[in-house]
């Protein structure tokens, strides 16, 4: 069996979960919700096995090309969703989050999945930690983006299956904070590694600048929630804009401009 088959099976599970959540919007049945959740769990387990397998074969965390980073981004997003769903039972939000996850996998599956060899400067635990924190951070920002959109949907349409506005706001703030915390660790590990590898801890290339911007933006958001006028809708909008900044940093720079972090 090849590892791509596992990933396709995982995508199938995520697709089923999206279908389940969609049907649940109409039927509002607890059973449907449980089935959809089980699909997410199965998809996540399959994807985890696939990731572990590829890691084992490569001998390093395989995140050095666009296929692998999209794959890892999707795995992190599923992990974050499960954290929130297990903790807060936010079932219906899964429709949007899993749809986003499928989009990432859709782009990944169309790309070359061969495992590239690792260049020596990346052969360090700093690299693995930098990437793990970075994508877990991105995934939490994607989660906040989804919660932001759902907040606006809930405000306009009042969907009974979605959590209340107060819960959505609380969860949005939590994912921004957790994302910021992990992204801070990513920046610290990256800075120490850069100092060891190049002799300076901040590089003035466009990817470096935009990563700093992502960090600064979300640092601002960690405080914006204290300002009454920004709470709720303002915060939801900021989460959406923030994810735009994340996407540009992750994909836009790699695809459109040159940097020392190609397609990461």
């Amino acid at each position: 069996m090849n590892s791509l088959l596992l990933l396709k099976l995982a995508s199938g599970c995520y697709l089923l979960s999206v279908a389940g959540y969609l049907l649940n919007l109409h039927f509002n049945a607890k059973r449907l919700q449980q089935i959809s959740f089980s699909c997410v769990v199965s998809g996540f387990l399959l994807q985890t096995i696939c990731l572990g397998w590829r890691w084992h074969i490569a001998g390093f965390l395989p995140v050095t090309n666009l296929f692998s980073t999209l794959f890892f981004f999707s795995w992190s997003l599923a992990a974050c969703y499960l954290y929130f769903d297990i903790r807060y039972r936010i079932g219906a939000t899964g429709l949007f989050v899993m749809f986003l996850n499928l989009t990432l996998l859709f782009f990944a599956l169309g790309r070359d999945s061969t495992l590239p060899t690792l260049i020596s400067s990346l052969d360090t635990p700093f690299f693995s930690l930098h990437i793990i924190f970075s994508f877990l951070g991105y995934a939490l920002f994607a989660m906040a983006f989804s919660l932001g959109i759902l907040y606006l949907v809930q405000r306009v349409f009042t969907v009974s299956q979605l959590p209340s506005l107060a819960v959505l706001r609380k969860l949005n703030e939590e994912s921004i904070f957790l994302g910021f915390a992990l992204f801070t660790l990513c920046m610290i590990v990256g800075a120490i590694w850069a100092h060891w590898a190049w002799g300076y801890y901040f590089s003035w290339n466009i990817k470096g600048i935009w990563s700093f911007l992502v960090w600064l933006f979300y640092a601002g958001m960690c405080h914006a929630k204290f300002i009454k006028r920004w709470q709720g809708t303002g915060y939801a909008l900021l989460s959406i804009i923030g994810f735009g900044v994340v996407l540009f940093t992750y994909l836009g720079i790699g695809l459109l401009l040159e940097s020392n972090h190609p397609l990461e």
Binding site: T124, L185, I192, W198, G199, Y201, F217, A219
Partner: protein, 348 residues
């Protein structure tokens, strides 16, 4: 007046505005970076302060946003410091929020360290040192770095996977520290950091054999005394010398073409001769007369290592900031939930 300024400096709203301003400036400005490689392409080769004053200042129309963003970041640092001081004096629940305090202190230290390093640091990217040589750290009087040995490590499919330079840091010719510098394993001392960049081999002389086929290497700077008492000084070695029709000579490339030694002979009777010896053509008569009987066999190469040697006096402080920040973030991950349960948060 003083009170208003202080409360403004401690204001969270001001912090958000300043951070937003810096974000917008950097966002807009950074999109110019790829289209002006001559301005922005070599920013990492000098400390940021040097770049600002030497490169950015003469091109203000294209770099003004950098000055704006730098000023706002300094303001944000001052703002965070004031907030921190204000907390130290006014907050009761100190232990409950030590995660947040450490995090903010970390930000202040890192920002301060970056400013310090940008002003007082120096960078020497791509410094070439041959094995056995030592270079003086010109920005750090009294200090020198010696390359004792160099060893590349090759992978199974060809390209090198590591380059290990064994170096000694000296101060007034006294060894201070000896270390191996390799990929992801730099030499670190205070704010000094030495990392590997590349390596190579360069021709430095020729290998000769005598009548008994014993080989002997001669490099530029060597001296030989022959059996008839003449002294031959090999003043310098040139790997590829070009001889023009008018008799003039020029240096062609660093690769081996027509190798040549510039030599000076002092004969036993005190007479002297100076000229060129190109072993691939004929042996000059004075060299024959001096009793030089060696035959050239091969080119002698010497390994060299290319290193980055940077000094950032703020680096240890930035590291301390990073440790505070990491600890702060980890503690805040717990206090975030505790604060939420207690509904404890500032309301502005």
């Amino acid at each position: 007046m003083l009170k208003t300024t202080w409360s403004l400096l401690c204001s969270l709203k001001v912090a958000i505005f300043v951070a937003s301003g810096a974000t917008l400036l950097l966002m807009g400005g950074s999109l110019q970076v790829p289209s002006h490689p001559t301005l922005f392409g070599h920013m990492d080769q000098v400390p940021f302060g040097t770049w600002l004053s030497e490169t950015a200042l003469p091109h203000l129309s294209k770099t003004w946003w950098f000055w704006g963003a730098a000023a706002l970041m300094i303001l944000l640092g001052v703002n965070t410091l004031c907030c921190f001081i204000d907390w130290l004096f006014n907050l009761k629940a100190r232990w409950k929020k030590c995660g947040e305090y450490l995090l903010h202190l970390g930000v202040i230290l890192i920002l301060g360290a970056y400013i310090w390093g940008s002003i007082s640091g120096w960078r020497n990217s791509d410094t070439k040192i041959a094995v056995g040589d030592q270079i003086v750290l010109k920005d750090w009087p009294g200090y020198a770095l010696k390359l004792n040995s160099f060893k590349p490590i090759f992978g199974t499919n060809g390209p090198p996977i590591d380059m290990i330079s064994h170096v000694t840091l000296l101060r007034d010719d006294t060894p201070l520290l000896e270390a191996d510098v390799a990929i992801n394993a730099p030499l670190l001392r205070g704010g000094l950091v030495v990392t590997p960049v590349s390596f190579g081999k360069e021709p430095v002389g020729l290998i000769f054999t005598d009548r008994t086929e014993t080989s002997q290497t001669i490099e530029g700077g060597d001296t030989l005394t022959t059996d008839n008492g003449s002294r031959i000084e090999f003043l310098r070695f040139i790997p590829d010398l070009k001889q023009h029709r008018d008799g003039s000579l020029s240096y062609r490339t660093d690769r081996v073409g027509t190798p040549a030694f510039q030599i000076k002979i002092t004969f036993a009777d005190g007479n002297q001769w100076q000229g060129w010896y190109t072993p691939t053509t004929a042996v000059p008569r004075p060299l024959q007369m001096a009793g030089f009987v060696l035959r050239p066999r091969a080119v002698a190469y010497q390994d060299y290592s290319i290193l980055t040697i940077n000094y950032d006096p703020g680096a240890p402080m930035a590291m301390a900031g990073a440790i505070f920040m990491t600890t702060g973030v980890l503690i805040s991950l717990f206090s975030f939930y505790r604060k939420r349960t207690r509904n404890d948060r500032p309301s502005i």
